[in-house]
Amino acid sequence: MAVAGHTERRTAEEPGNDRRRPSRKGRAPRRGARRPGEARTAYLLIAPAVLLLALVVGYPVLKAVYQSFLTDPGLDRATGMFDSGGNWFGLHNYTHWLLQRCATPEGGWTSCPSGALGSQFWGSVGVTVGFTVVACTLETVIGMVFALTMHRAFRGRAMVRVAILVPWAIPTAVTSKLWQVMFDPQGVVNKLLGTHYAWTSSLWPARSAIVVADTWKTTPFIALLILAGLQNIPAETYEAARIDGAGAWRRFTNVTLPLVRPALAVAVVFRALDTLRMYDLPKILTGGSNGTTTSSVLVVNQLTRGANSASALSTITFVLIFVIAFGLVRLLNVNLFGARAKAVS
C-alpha cells in the first residue's frame, strides 16, 4: 500500500517536474522560488511524513541490518542453557546463507547438508524467481485478454467485470484454503481432469498449484490496470487505423499495445514485486514443502531458530528483490520510451 501511495504521489507531481526539467540540475527550482520562506515551509510540511517514515521504516530496517552482524544465542555446553548472544559475528551470518556453510559440533564449518535450513537458500531464491517469471507472464497474457473483454461494450458487461474482479477481492489466506480443498487428492480438480495427482504433495504439481492459485487471484489486478490504460486510448486512433486498412490484429499490435504499455509496465512491476515476496499462499497451500519454499517462507522459518541470522537472510532477500525490481524498472522504461517513439513515427 505504501508503495502504491508513493508512486501515485510521484505521478501526480510529474507534470510539474517535466516543466522544470531543464533547470533541475543546478538546484534551480529552489533558488528560483518566488518567496524566500517557501522552501522552508515546504520542508516543514514534509518533515512529519519523513520523520514518521524514518521511524516505522528506517529504524526497523537499520536495526535488522545491524543485528545481522551479531551472533544468535548459543548453547553453553557446561550449563545446558542458552547465552544471550548478540556478540559481533562479522559476515558469518551472510556467508552461512550465501556460501551455505553450516557449523559443526567441533566448532568448524562445513557445507550445509540436506535438511539444514542453510542448504535451502539458493533453492528458495530459484523457486521465488521461477514463480515470479511464470506467474507474471501468465497473469499479463490472461489479464490482457480480460481487459480487452471488459473494454468492449456488450450486454452484461457489468456482470463480467464483477465476475472477473471477485478473485482479487478475496483475501489470500482464504484463496489458499479454497485451492487447497480443490487440489485435494479427492478434490474437484482431480475429478474434473480425471487424474489422480496428489497435487500438493509432489514437486511439480505443487509448484503448478501455487502458480494456478496465484494467477487466479491476481490476474484481475493486472486486468484492471490494463483496462484503465485502454480507456485512455481515444477512439479516433482506432478509426484512423481502420481507415488506413489495419485489421484487428494490426490494430492490436500497432495501436493498443504501444499505447497501453505505460499502464502495463506499472502493472508488471507491481506484480513482480508482490510475487517476489510471496509468503501466505505457499505457507498455507503447501506449507512450503515440495519445492515451494520461497525466500520469505525461509526467512520466517529461520526467525524462530535465530533472529540475527534471520536478519541477515532478510537483508539478502531485500537486496535481491531490490536489484531485480530496479533492473525491471530500467528495462521496462527503456522499452517504454522506445515504444512511444515507434508509435509516434
Binding site: L52, G80, M81, F82, P113, G115, A116, L117, S201, S289
Partner: protein, 427 residues
C-alpha cells in the same frame, strides 16, 4: 496547524517505539518477588477441541476465589502456538503465567530460561505419574514442567476385514494382500496402510517409530550425538519407503496429517491406520462408515510389537510470571485425579496418572486403555534437545525425500545424520 498535529502524533509514536525498544532490552528483575507471588493467573493453552477447559476453570476458580485463572486459548495449530509463546517469552510478558508446552519444546524452553525448574520451593511430586511422561518434562536432569496429557501411537484396523490385529509388519502386509487397492485410493477397495506422511512434525513422529522399531536410534544417550545413520535405521525407514514404492501406502498419504488420515479411515478408504487415541471419538461419531467395525491395537513392528513415539503436553511456569506460587498450585491441581479423569472421560485425552489405566470403570468404558498404556510405556521419546526445531527439520526433509523416491534410504539417512549434527551445533 494540521502539520503540527501530525508532527505531535509522529513524535509520540516515535517515543513509544523507542520506549518499547528499551523495554525489550532492560532487565525484568522481580524474579524473587515472582517466585512466591500469589494472585490471579493466566493459563495459555491450545484451542480446546476436546472441551475440557470449562471444567478446569470452574473447579479451580471455585476453590481459589482470590487467585482465579483466566484461560487464553491459542490456535489449534502447533506451529502457531509455538510462535505465540516465543513472541511472548521474548517480550518477557508477565501476563503468561502457566503455558502448555509440547513435549518436544520443553528442552528449548528450559534452556532459554523461559520456564522455571520445578526444584526447591517449586518441587512437584511426580511419584504417581507415568515415568515416560516425567522424562519428557525433564531437561539436563532437572524437571522443568508438569506432565498434563500423554499420547502414544496406536494401530487402528478394520474388524470386518481381519479377525485380529497384526503384531508384525509382515502380518499386516499379508492381511492386505489381494484385498486392497495399490498405490492410490481409488474406487471401492481401501488402501492398505497410512500414517502421517505430509512434511510436518507428524512425519518425524512416524519416521521415528519406524526407525526405533528396528532398533535404530536417532540420537545417542546424551540426547545430541547423531546416531541415525545405521543399518537398523535403514531397515525401519525402508518399511515406509517400500510402502510408497510397492503401493501398500497410497501416494495421497504424502499429504496426510492426522485429520486427513482419520478422514480416510473413517470413510472406509484404509484397512490399517496409525494414529493417536483421539481418533476414537471421531471414528465412533455419526458420519463414520467404520463405527463398530474397527479395533485398536499397539503398533506392529518387524518382529512383534513396534515402538510408539511419545506425544503429549506439559505445563510450565513462566519465568516472568509474578504469581509463581499460585501457578505451582495450579500445576498440582492439574495432576489431580479429578482433572485427569475429566480429561479422559470428556476429551479422550490420555491421562498421565498411572492409576487411571487400571481403573476398572474407566477400562470398561475405554477398552483401549491397556493398549495405550503399553504404547506409552514402551514409547521412545523424540530427541530431547534445545535444538529440536533443527533436528526435526533434518528428519522431516530427508525422510520426505526418501518417501517420494527422490533419494535412496541410505542417502537420506546419511544426510539426516549430517543435518542433525549441524543442527545441534547451532547452525
Amino acid at each position: 496547524m494540521r502539520a503540527r498535529k501530525v508532527a505531535a502524533v509522529a513524535g509520540a509514536l516515535g517515543a513509544t517505539l523507542v520506549l518499547a525498544g528499551c523495554g525489550a532490552d532492560g532487565d525484568s528483575g522481580g524474579s524473587t518477588r515472582g517466585a512466591d507471588g500469589r494472585g490471579p493467573i493466566t493459563f495459555v493453552t491450545g484451542k480446546d477441541n476436546s472441551g475440557v477447559l470449562p471444567f478446569i476453570a470452574d473447579e479451580w476458580n471455585r476453590a481459589h476465589p482470590d487467585e482465579k485463572v483466566t484461560i487464553k486459548q491459542q490456535s489449534d495449530q502447533a506451529d502457531q502456538q509455538l510462535a505465540d509463546l516465543e513472541q511472548h517469552f521474548q517480550a518477557k510478558d508477565p501476563g503468561y503465567d502457566v503455558v502448555t508446552v509440547d513435549v518436544v519444546w520443553t528442552a528449548e524452553f528450559a534452556a532459554r530460561g523461559w520456564i522455571v525448574p520445578l526444584t526447591g520451593r517449586h518441587t512437584l511430586d511426580t511419584r504417581r505419574l507415568l515415568p515416560a511422561t516425567v522424562k519428557s518434562a525433564t531437561y539436563n536432569g532437572t524437571l522443568y514442567a508438569a506432565p498434563y496429557g500423554s499420547d502414544g501411537g496406536l494401530l487402528y484396523y478394520r474388524t470386518d476385514m481381519v479377525d485380529s490385529a497384526p503384531t508384525t509388519w509382515k502380518e499386516l502386509l499379508g492381511n492386505c494382500e489381494g484385498r486392497t487397492a495399490e498405490g492410490t485410493i481409488t474406487g471401492d477397495r481401501p488402501a492398505c496402510y497410512a500414517g502421517q506422511f505430509a512434511k510436518y512434525e507428524g512425519l518425524t513422529v512416524n519416521a521415528a517409530e519406524a526407525i526405533n522399531a528396528t532398533g535404530g536410534k536417532i540420537v545417542g544417550s546424551d540426547g545430541r550425538t547423531a546416531t541415525v545413520d545405521s543399518p537398523e535405521s535403514a531397515a525401519g525407514l525402508d518399511f515406509l519407503v517400500k510402502g510408497f514404492k510397492d503401493g501398500y501406502i497410497p501416494k495421497e498419504a504424502l499429504g496426510f496429517q492426522e485429520t486427513q488420515t482419520v478422514n480416510a479411515f473413517r470413510s472406509g478408504q484404509l484397512m490399517f491406520m496409525r494414529n493417536w487415541p483421539y481418533a476414537v471419538a471421531i471414528l465412533d461419531g455419526k458420519d463414520s462408515k467404520v463405527a463398530g467395525k474397527y479395533g485398536v491395537a499397539p503398533l506392529p513392528g518387524p518382529a512383534g510389537h513396534g515402538a510408539s513415539t511419545l506425544g503429549g503436553h506439559n505445563l510450565g511456569i513462566s519465568a516472568y510470571s509474578e504469581h509463581q506460587a499460585t501457578a505451582l498450585d495450579f500445576l498440582r491441581f492439574i495432576e489431580s485425579d479429578t482433572v485427569q479423569r475429566n480429561n479422559l472421560t470428556v476429551g479422550t485425552l490420555a491421562p498421565v496418572l498411572t492409576s487411571m489405566y487400571s481403573d476398572p470403570k474407566l477400562v470398561k468404558k475405554f477398552t483401549y486403555l491397556p493398549d495405550l498404556l503399553k504404547s506409552i510405556e514402551t514409547a521412545v521419546p523424540r530427541p530431547i534437545t534445545p535444538f529440536y526445531p533443527g533436528v526435526t527439520e533434518a528428519i522431516e526433509t530427508n525422510t520426505y525425500a526418501a518417501l517420494q523416491g527422490r533419494t535412496t534410504t541410505a542417502q537420506a539417512l546419511k544426510d539426516m545424520q549430517a543435518a542433525i549434527k549441524s543442527a545441534t551445533a547451532g547452525g
